[in-house]
């Protein structure tokens, strides 16, 4: 090592989307510190939206740029990265509107549940506006996660988006203990998975004597390293990633966290984390470890199969709508894994389309969940959803639309996603994934339809469950995700073309 310190060269224009989001987050923190309480809520919403929109514009302006490594080889700028970052930003924009409905969040996070402070804070109508900068930090972390091209950056990004999410999960206004339990559980298990991840990173470094993706790739091709280190490295790294996407057997956190977290956070987390984690996974397996597929593919295939079947089967037994959606997201993680395993161009395109389509529909579905309430907050018990179609046909119809999209009924985005991802998997020769995927889709259809039956064909119970008139923000979220879900089902061609012409990985 020489003694000279070289200032890193940063490609500011290519990095600008991430930098803008980070800047917005810091601005948000400053507002928390200095702006008067009364004006925080609206100014935070404004800043967050402006930040995300500006970042998206910057990203769009960059979209056709040459693929290069940036920031001293610690990140890359390539087509797939642009698409994944774009998906994250769009999902974030759609779900930020949900944050504006502060009824979901505790009035004062620091107050103990049931304490005097809590009561006073509720009376004073305090608001936790710090959710906005926290979400922005998480978004920035996710964006870096999808384009990181060395293991250290990858790890830093992982922590960067995980920590705000742990915090956010504990901020629910109602059932606060449950929310805090969820946050703690998420944090502890997340910390474990991070440790595994780091362990894997160190093995890969031991194997290749490099932390950059290109270095590891060269070592894999060269084949001179110690294969045991490589295998252990892949295994532990995968544990960390599979934890984030909620694949079996690393899924146990997700139902509790989905249920306990404030629903707007669940929406954002369920959608955006999947994009980020699968984005990184695709990058690692497609561009770094592709040549070693004989080693990891069988194991990952097994995980995918178990994940699909387990998620679909266990979801049937759920009585809580958020838990049901959690298990459904586990099943979808299994479907998405088939895109990773496919290891071909159509697999990459299909995965990106699926991630975006699923993310948008997920945000929409959880947004609907926030609307069904009684006097003590959201009603997530499915039995009390019965007859919703009678009381509020519009809300029920929209929710049914999202469920049909999850089930993969034609003319919804979910169908196009499913078709493309399964055909990519079959193209790569993974017949087992195709057949199991189709069968578990059939199982999954059962519980989606059961909810539709509950809403439309069962009479309502008179227990004070009502649908609140959605605020303009929530309306916007729901309408936007509904339109996107069905537009992508009927006219998917433009997006598919764009993805297939753009999505490439470089090392």
């Amino acid at each position: 090592m020489g003694g000279n310190f070289l200032a890193p060269t940063l490609e500011y224009s290519l990095l600008s989307p991430v930098l803008i989001v980070l800047g917005g987050a810091i601005l948000g923190v400053l507002i928390e510190a200095f702006a008067p309480r009364a004006s925080r809520s609206s100014s935070q919403l404004f800043i967050t939206l402006t930040t995300l929109a500006t970042a998206l514009t910057a990203l769009i302006r960059n979209r056709n740029g040459e693929s290069v490594t940036v920031a001293m080889n610690s990140m890359v700028f390539d087509g797939a990265g642009v698409l994944l970052q774009g998906s994250i930003l769009v999902i974030a924009i759609i779900s930020v509107f949900l944050l504006a409905d502060q009824d979901n969040f505790t009035a004062l996070a620091a107050a103990l549940p049931g304490s005097n402070e809590e009561r006073i804070s509720v009376q004073q109508q305090l608001k936790v506006t710090e959710v906005y900068p926290l979400v922005l930090f998480a978004v920035a972390g996710m964006m870096i996660f999808t384009v990181a091209s060395d293991l250290i950056t990858l790890f830093v990004a992982l922590e960067m988006f995980s920590l705000p999410l742990y915090l956010l999960a504990g901020l629910s206004r109602h059932r606060r203990l449950m929310s805090q339990e969820a946050a703690l559980k998420y944090f502890l298990l997340g910390a474990f998975s991070s440790a595994f991840f780091l362990f894997g990173v160190s093995f890969l470094y031991g194997y290749s004597a490099s932390i950059t993706f290109s270095g590891i790739h060269d070592a894999v091709i060269g084949g001179s390293g110690n294969d045991v280190f490589l295998l252990l490295g892949i295994a532990f790294l995968s544990v960390g990633l599979l934890f984030k996407v909620g694949a079996v057997p690393f899924h146990t956190w997700s139902p509790d966290v989905y249920q306990g977290a404030p629903t707007p956070i669940t929406a954002f987390m369920a959608a955006a984390t999947k994009v980020a984690a699968f984005g990184a996974m695709l990058r690692i397996f497609y561009s770094v470890l592709a040549e070693d597929y004989l080693q990891w593919r069988p194991v990952l295939t097994l995980v995918a199969l178990v994940t699909m079947v387990f998620g679909s089967l266990v979801a049937i037994a759920q009585r809580d709508v958020k838990r049901m959606l959690a298990y459904s997201s586990i099943a979808h993680a299994g479907f998405l894994l088939s895109g990773v395993i496919a290891l071909n161009k159509s697999g990459l395109d299909a995965s990106i389309f699926y991630l975006f389509a699923y993310g948008v529909a997920t945000v929409g579905a959880f947004a609907v969940v926030t609307l069904v309430r009684d006097s003590s907050g959201e009603v997530t018990d499915l039995n009390r959803w019965s007859g919703l179609g009678k009381r509020s046909p519009l809300v029920a119809t929209v929710f049914a639309g999202f469920l049909l999209a999850f089930a993969g009924i034609p003319l919804t985005s979910g169908f196009i996603g499913k078709f493309s991802i399964f055909s990519a998997a079959y193209e790569s020769g993974a017949t087992s994934l195709l057949i199991t995927g189709v069968l578990s889709s059939a199982i999954a259809a059962f519980f989606y339809i059961r909810v539709i039956v509950l809403m439309f064909f069962k009479d309502s119970v008179e227990d004070g469950t009502s649908v609140v008139i959605p605020s303009i923000y929530t309306q916007f979220t729901i309408a936007l995700s509904f339109i996107v879900t069905f537009a992508l089902g009927v006219f998917p061609a433009p997006l598919l073309e764009f993805i297939s012409s753009t999505a490439t990985f470089i090392r």
Partner: protein, 499 residues
Amino acid sequence: MMLLPLLGALAIAIAPSTNELLTKQIALATTLVVAVAGILTTISFDFDNTALQFVESYEWIPSFGIKYAVGLDGIALILILLSVLLAPIVVLAGWNESEGGRWGAKTFYVLLLVLETLMIGVFASTDVFLFYVFFEAMLIPVYFLIGGYGSGERAAAAVKFLLYSLFGGLLMLASIIGLYVISGNNGSHTFDINELAGLSQYMSPMTQNLLFLGFFIAFAIKAPVWPLHTWLPDAAASATPGTSVLLLGVLDKVGTFGMIRYCLTLFPDASKTFTPVIITFAVISILYGAFLAIGAKDIKRLIAYTSISHFGFITMGIFAMTTQAQSGAVLYMFNHGFSTAALFLVAGWMIARRKSSTISDFGGLQRVTPVMAWSFFIAGMSSLALPGLSSFVSEFLVLVGTFTRYPVAAVIATFGIVLAALYILLPVQKALHGPTTPGNEAIKDLNLREKIAIAPVMAVIVVLGFYPSPLLNIINPAAAQVITSQGFSDPLPTSNGDK
């Protein structure tokens, strides 16, 4: 033509929901216009041309080679004609059907018209992917029609229907993905039915068999063939009569249509491999459906069971691989649509008047309500294939056509006709003849609207019984085309079907 019902649905959707009459009038007008359009299409159809006609094709999702491609051959044309003719009859016959539903008349007719669009689309599409989209999308309106407007255990029946169909549909999706990938490996990705037809030479027998099964199971659930039939009686018994007419008369035909259009055309070798098994299942369906029908106590279930028996005939005709049986099967689909429609509509009126669907509650209707009783009688006679009524021609063709290749199956199937006499005559005797039993004295006969609705059905049944050749002229070239494309020739070179 496909856009018309959608426009009607849109018109209903924006019409004021308080004005039910207007809603119904729009629905009736729309379906009538579509029916006229359907008849005009039939007239301008070139009977001698075996190629697809009225072809339209637009790019839909180019990255997957998916097109919005529609076109008609004789078989598709006949089935579309059936759909568009039945639709206005259903609207007129079930004028008050939407009452007693969970939602208003508006939703009912919107669903109905959307369904009509999808029905036309499913028969017309010549792109496998597009077909699948229609095939699956069709389930949603039917699901709500059964679950929202039916009677009895309607929600459970609707769910059973949907789950069975979705399961079959997903198997078919797996096969479609298989086809897509294989087409990509041997040229370019395509879903065009004509291009896919040549693809079977690239498949190993194993692959072809599996892909065939994916399609066939989906269609066998839809059709339904024993042992995949159990959803049908529940669905038919719970749905409104009008929905049942569309369900059995048209929707289930998608299954048998799919067998011809997709199973036979795309997988000729696999079709041959599985023929003995399928013929066996078909024969079992014929007899099993008939036995269940004899034992049925509920009049709607009875009709549903008879349909299982009839679908057995159709399936047998399709897989007998002779032009005669094939033409017979297609004609059977058309005739079955009308005779089942007649049975269901009259049964629906009987049930609505008597407030019961149990056969033994009726008695002596012949004296009280002669028109209704006669209509039921004629429909029943057509269903048991009495010579001179439409079903006879088709059943005869199927049996003769099957006999030339599978004599044993044809002989056993003939017993189905004997049983048919039993299952139709028993309820006819119980419900229509004999002394008028208590509770039936004050039943009113058909009113003018109902007479207008049933008259064309009766006319079709009688006319086609004596003079089926116009339809056969449309069907025969298409059927012969399917058989020759299979590499089959008729065992008896002299047999030429319709003369």
